[in-house]
Symmetry: C2
Subunit: 222 residues, 2 copies
DNA sequence: CTGGCTCCTGTACCGGCGGTACGGTTTTCA
DNA sequence: TGAAAACCGTACCGCCGGTACAGGAGCCAG
């Protein structure tokens, strides 16, 4: 029992890294068992076929993902009481966590599965769909709390705004990976944070004084 | 010459649809030639290997993508003179175009390639990277024009804001496909539009009266 | 100490697929 | 009409996913 779990975990670790770099179709079982150090029979002892490997991989990824969000936003909630400030802090913490990843975000399995729909059975697609719906509920819950206090400056649909968080994360990952700019993802999260801040925080007429206008209109040419 | 191009185009059409549904690794050459109605020899007459098919596929996709953006935003530019209003109109037109797709957006090849990096040579990855950089330049150019007139309400980096457009599009596609909700993508684009609007359009103290949702805000710059 | 369970290894085999090689054939256009 | 373009047919290779099945090492309860 103990030994089996350990091997299985190692196998999943190797598979996850490979799949995020080459996709499911591009990842061969033989390559996984070579790197894990087991035989083909060993692999098929743990997983009936590639589809079941994908299932286990996706479930594990989603669970881990949820855990991370739980930690971040509950910590933000502990530090700040106001729901808006707490959410903004959570986004800040998230962006810090993302920019601390040494080689950038490795990629999102949900997106990988999404671009592989026809290869897997309905169960996996349903799992994937539920993961995205869980994100919608999670961020939606927090946004509803905010909206109960802060009237949004523009009329917005809560679910769509919640989806915006997922969109920016998924899109940011694609950009970050494609550009090979690890920081882009974290920057996008901060940009989203600016959006939320602007949407809910009342306008304050700041005295035009201090020089905090770092980025304002000036970016590199070209 | 003429016939060859036609077959090649049909092959690329079939391949693009298949790749967006199953990824490169999940798409077999044999299945492509079966649907196109040619033989294996015919396939390898047009493309030396799968890598070259991917290259042609990606280049064609990017060109078409650029063409669509050109059309939309130049049309918006023709209709409205103000750079901000023109950009907002462009986003509106884009969202309409996206919600008019009968089966939703089929997927973005740039994202597919991004999740397949290790499978292709550097040339393809470079092509993909340049496509994203072209998006950054495109939206950045328009945003700079806007910023020359409208001071942003919050300090933002132009490139990061330009990337936000790409992020929301890429992320919206993932969400739309995963949720099987074709409209989600268009909604996300409109949400981004709200962001841009809020960021640049001056605050107007509206008398709390009628339904609010006018698309083109009616305020004058500055 | 023994039997049974978990966790594998080893070997053999199948069919599909990417890719190569190469000769032949039809179609197209100058 | 003739050469180039655009294929077709066939045969073959090696990798890979998957199946089948036999067996073995280690551990733990009775």
């Amino acid at each position: 029992m103990r030994k089996g779990e350990e091997t299985r975990t190692r196998l999943l670790d190797v598979a996850e890294a490979a799949v995020l770099q080459k996709g499911f179709g591009g990842t061969s079982i033989e390559e996984l068992i070579a790197e894990t150090g087991i035989t083909k029979s060993g692999f098929f002892y743990h997983f009936r076929d590639k589809n079941e490997l994908a299932k286990a991989l996706l479930n594990r990824y989603i669970e881990n993902d949820e855990r991370i969000y739980d930690e971040i936003f509950s910590r933000a909630r502990d530090l700040v009481d106001d729901p808006l400030q707490s959410f903004l802090l959570g986004l800040k913490l998230l962006s810090e966590l993302l920019s601390d990843l040494p080689n950038g975000h490795p990629g999102c399995l949900v997106a990988t599965v999404c671009y592989y729909e026809r290869l897997f059975d309905r169960e996996i697609q349903e799992t994937n769909r539920n993961a995205v719906l869980a994100w919608r509920r999670r961020f939606g819950r927090m946004l509803r709390e905010i909206m109960a206090i802060y009237p949004p400056r523009e009329p917005v649909n809560v679910d769509q705004l919640a989806d915006m968080v997922s969109s920016v994360l998924e899109g940011g990952i694609v950009l970050s990976k494609t550009l090979k700019e690890p920081n882009t993802l974290a920057e996008q999260v901060l940009m989203l944070r600016t959006f939320v801040k602007m949407l809910f925080l009342p306008v304050v007429e700041m005295p035009r004084a201090s020089g905090d206008s770092t980025f304002l209109g000036s970016a590199e040419p070209h």
